[in-house]
């Protein structure tokens, strides 16, 4: 499969890889939202963590990704795009923009969908934890839970 140069660049030099601590540590922090989407048996797991200010601005974002090059590039790009944005602006990002930016082929569109879902899921998690206005009820649908 031929990858676009942008995908290769994100794969080789991923932006904002990492996390704000162990899963227990980040779970205890109200300023951090975590989104984990996908499943190992599907070949993709994306984890997006955002640190949000009281004013609702995403000050920092970190990702980890188990997935193909396109999935890595999509999540890496997502962190670049949401940093510095207000949560509502970040929620407006659509997967089609990611597809276009990375020149993803049709079989890789699901990677961009996953990236969009991870943004939404991280923001929902932050809203739930911080008690921000308009926070929806807990939506475990997009968050993996340890049993």
């Amino acid at each position: 499969m031929a990858y676009s140069n942008k995908v290769i660049d994100h794969y080789e030099q991923p932006r904002n890889v990492g996390s704000f601590g162990t899963s227990k540590e980040v779970a205890a922090r109200k300023d951090i939202g975590v989104g984990i989407v996908g499943a190992p048996e599907c070949g993709d797991v994306m984890q997006l963590q955002i640190r949000v200010s009281d004013a609702g601005v995403i000050e920092d974002a970190k990702f980890k990704c188990f997935g193909c090059g396109s999935a890595i590039a999509s999540s890496s790009l997502a962190t670049e795009w949401i940093k510095g944005k207000k949560v509502d602006e970040a929620l407006a990002i659509r997967n089609t923009q990611i597809v276009e930016e990375l020149s993803l082929p049709p079989v890789k569109i699901h990677c961009s969908v996953l990236a969009e879902d991870s943004i939404r899921s991280a923001i929902e998690d932050w809203k739930r934890k911080s008690g921000a206005a308009g926070a929806p009820a807990a939506t475990p649908s997009a968050t993996a839970s340890v049993h």
Binding site: P40, K64, V146
Partner: protein, 412 residues
Amino acid sequence: MQLTRQIYLDNAATTPCDPRVVEAMLPYFTEKFGNAGSRNHRFGWDAEDAIELAREQAAQVIGANAKEVIFTSGSTESNNLAIKGAAEMYARAPKGQTGRGHIVTVAHEHKAVLDPVRRLMREGFDATFITPPPDGVITVDHVREALRPNTILVSVMWANNELGTINEVPQIGRLCHEREIIFHTDATQWVGKMPTAVETDCIDLLSWSGHKIYGPKGVGALYVRRRKPRVRLESLVDGGGQERGMRSGTQNVTGIVGFGKACEIGLAEMEKDRAHLQPLRDRLERELCARLEVCQVNGHLTKRLPNISNISFGFVEGESLMMGVRDIACSSGSACTSASLEPSYVLKSLGIGDDLAHSSLRLSFGRWTTSADVEAAIGLIERAVNHLRSMSPLFDLHKEGIDLSKIVWQSH
């Protein structure tokens, strides 16, 4: 993409032609271009002589008589001819009826065996697909348990193409002969690399291919036993009656000449090749398992060909791993270039979890693989796995001591 020298570690997919093979073939493209079916002039006689020499060379590498070798276009055709041809010939009921006979094969066979069997199931035959054990080795007991009173055909590959694991073919052959059941083996990965004696190994039908043994593509052979028992097949291709009527069509003289030469070299240099291959393979596995944690060699560790290694690396995804090792030409355990992201059915049939099946590489070594190639490959794989693990959320969870199998994932 930049062009760098690729390290070729995909010899189980195909091999380069041995220059001695190419040299033997060349005259048959030009001055000796005759049709082996032309019985009344020198051009035809030359072609026929060349084919009969190749038939002798092919027979010797498997311990057969030359009259028992049928040339085909490769293992896929040989498997189709063996399975469909034998099933139709030994069917217990005529076409259009059910209950025509029972066939035994294995879930981790090549598609060129599984799909002909599946077609026969639509045409009135019954089949059992043996589930392999975790080490991948099919024993005579597995086959014995699968047999039924109306079993007419057993097809078990000699060595598995993804794992290199070796099945108990001679023992299975003996069992089939005791029960008077036709026994076919797809020996594509085996012949030319390992000693083969169809007579004492009780094999009735054996498929193999030229391009896996440093011969040309598009040519292979099927061994068809002629005595004790005399095996008969219904042909798939009808016409001029070439190849004892079992495979009509003008013979691929150049290909057959190359195939014969490749068999001859394979037989003569078998020990030399093995002494070259096994240390390379062992070194690669030893080094990678020493340098990387959660690194697993798939399939039985000793009942295995000397040239194939199938390794899974936990917590990394197969396609990104392939991307990281793109200077190595090898195969991935997951067929993820297709629209559906499916891990290898061979690894899944062994009960290997989807996560490890996704993140496996098949590395296969050949006559011209050097220790410098292996050294470079070890370094590239180590780097890629570490790079991907630094990004992997699953590796973090593993490091935190969380059992991934206990997590309920919300898949899409």
